[in-house]
Amino acid sequence: MTTFWPLFKRELFAFFVTPLAWVLIVVFLLVQGMHFYLLIDHFTSQAVPTGDETPISAFFGNTVLLYLVLFVVIPALTMRLFAEERRSGTIEMLLTAPVSSASVVLAKYAAAVTTYGAMWLPTLLYVVILRRTGTLDLRVTASAYLGVLLVGAGYLSLGVCASAVTRSQLIATSLTSLVLVSLFIVGLGEFVVRQGTTAQAICAYVSVWGHMNDFASGIVDSRRIVFYGTMIALPLFVATRVVDAWKWG
């Protein structure tokens, strides 16, 4: 693991020295900024607040805008991690250095998660704005941010795995999008499949939509933590084995 740190630094450097990360951050913040503006407009136009909806629960839950941007941003963040190194051949330099496959996978993943976190960082300004103008439950806000971080971390892990199985960045992106969208649609089955059936229970368990609504309302359920823990660990494990397997190809 002594090699984790240099690998992590180099990956982060690669994200921010190329325009890719900056383009993604700009796109992400434009969408989120528009989203925030619409929400504030909506809430201020209401004479009397209805229900238990708050700007935080509406910003993070019950909105498709969050997922639409993630389906674009996440695959773009992870596509190059392994695919580019294999295409350009630099993987040969990397894997002939005294590094373990696990530290390579973890360093690349950690760099992607850090970049993802950096994307969300400016949105904390919205929290500051909301606190200036009204009351805000900080614990709910923290829970919502934990939610987007977990969902993002799980998605990024799948993206890392997809990037390891192909040499083509295009295929890596498409594969990641396909898996993420499929998972999302299966989750929506929660509302479509007949109540009380096993299928409906499974759909509810994997429903990102449902998870984010809970997190955005301040509910941190240990089942969700286990679910995302698995969704992070399993693809990373598979990616490590894939990296090991290249030797024997």
Binding site: W5, L7, M93, T96, P98, K247, G249
Partner: protein, 331 residues
């Protein structure tokens, strides 16, 4: 330093390396020679730990590449054939990253990087981005990377491909110098290269080790090599006498004839075994002596490395070659 025994590598149904064994000691520069697709790069990639062997044992400085891969890789500095580098990094940044990755202690890192840059001759481009470098400089950055952690073993896959003649000469000088303190393995299909810097040659063909030894020894394996004779007598009649012997393919004057002697090079049918060839040399001498000429000197000359290479890499499948010859002569 390197011990390889009964190494094989299979890609699907194709056997890329077939039961190859060799050793490399400290202070040696071993050149892997062979036509394209002979298994040179595959062998070096296995040494470097990028590929795993299908069968056999590879030990690098006492560490098995399969069971102890990290320690094995720590003992080796490897430069892949195409010298892939991160294009967006500056040369000095890249080498610092590589030194850290190869676990050079923090305190020694910048000294090691500086030394590697001056040995490889990239000091003047230290702050340039790698994607702005010429092929020659990229190659040298790859070389600097291979030696940056001062590993006991340096493996370079085609270190001079794509370089101009001056750069080739510089690169060979560096390789020779490396040979003094490291065990060096290079691969090439340029024959003059192994003569210029290798102390030993390993010739691969179709995944098999077909010959091994110092370049000079390899030359003597060349069957079409000539025998030099110094004969007293008239040149034309000497030539006639030699040419009348069956299976002699050539008899040429070498240099200018002296006052009463002439030096000639006699070549024989390359299909002959070395024993038959020896008898034929005896017969030439006997023929000259009985014809009244004086034989003053008989010497075996080394053939060209090119000929040895061509013969050895063709010989593995004589059946194929011969049957093809017969087919073409058939009406």
């Amino acid at each position: 330093m390197i011990t390889v025994s009964h190494l094989s590598k299979r890609y699907g149904s194709r056997l890329a390396i077939d039961d190859v064994s060799f050793e490399v000691a400290k202070g040696e520069v071993v050149g892997f020679l062979g036509p394209n697709g002979a298994g040179k790069s595959t062998t070096l990639r296995i040494l470097a730990g990028f590929l795993g062997p299908t069968a056999g044992v590879v030990s690098i400085a006492g560490h098995d590449v399969v069971t102890d891969p990290i320690e094995a890789r720590r003992s080796i500095g490897y430069m892949p054939e195409s010298v892939p580098l991160y294009p967006e990094m500056r040369v000095v940044e890249y080498l610092r990253f590589r030194a850290e990755l190869k676990r050079v202690a923090r305190g020694r890192r910048s000294t090691y990087v500086d030394e590697a840059m001056s040995r490889a001759g990239v000091v003047d481009v230290a702050n340039r981005r790698i994607d702005q470098l010429s092929k020659g400089y990229r190659q040298r950055v790859g070389l600097a990377d291979a030696i940056v952690a001062k590993p006991p073993i340096v493996v370079l896959d085609e270190p001079t491909s794509g370089l101009d003649p001056n750069q080739i000469r510089d690169a060979r000088a560096v390789v020779r110098e490396l040979g003094r303190e490291h065990a060096v393995v290079i691969s090439t299909h340029v024959l003059s290269e192994v003569e210029a810097c290798a102390t030993r040659v390993i010739l691969l063909h179709r995944g098999k080790l077909v010959a091994e030894g110092p370049p000079a020894t390899l030359r003597t394996l060349c069957r079409s090599r000539p025998v030099a004779l110094t004969v007293r007598g008239d040149l034309a009649s000497v030539k006639n006498a030699i040419r009348s012997i069956p299976r002699v393919t050539g008899c040429e004057l070498e240099g200018k004839p002296a006052l009463e002697t002439c030096a000639i090079h006699v070549t024989f049918d390359p299909e002959l075994s070395s024993e038959q060839r020896g008898y034929l040399v005896e017969r030439c001498v006997a023929e000259l002596v009985t014809s009244g000429f004086g034989v003053r000197d008989v010497r075996e000359l080394g053939g060209s490395l090119e000929d040895a290479f061509a013969e050895l890499t063709r010989e593995v499948e004589p059946g194929v070659q011969r049957s093809r010859g017969r087919d073409s002569s058939a009406p």
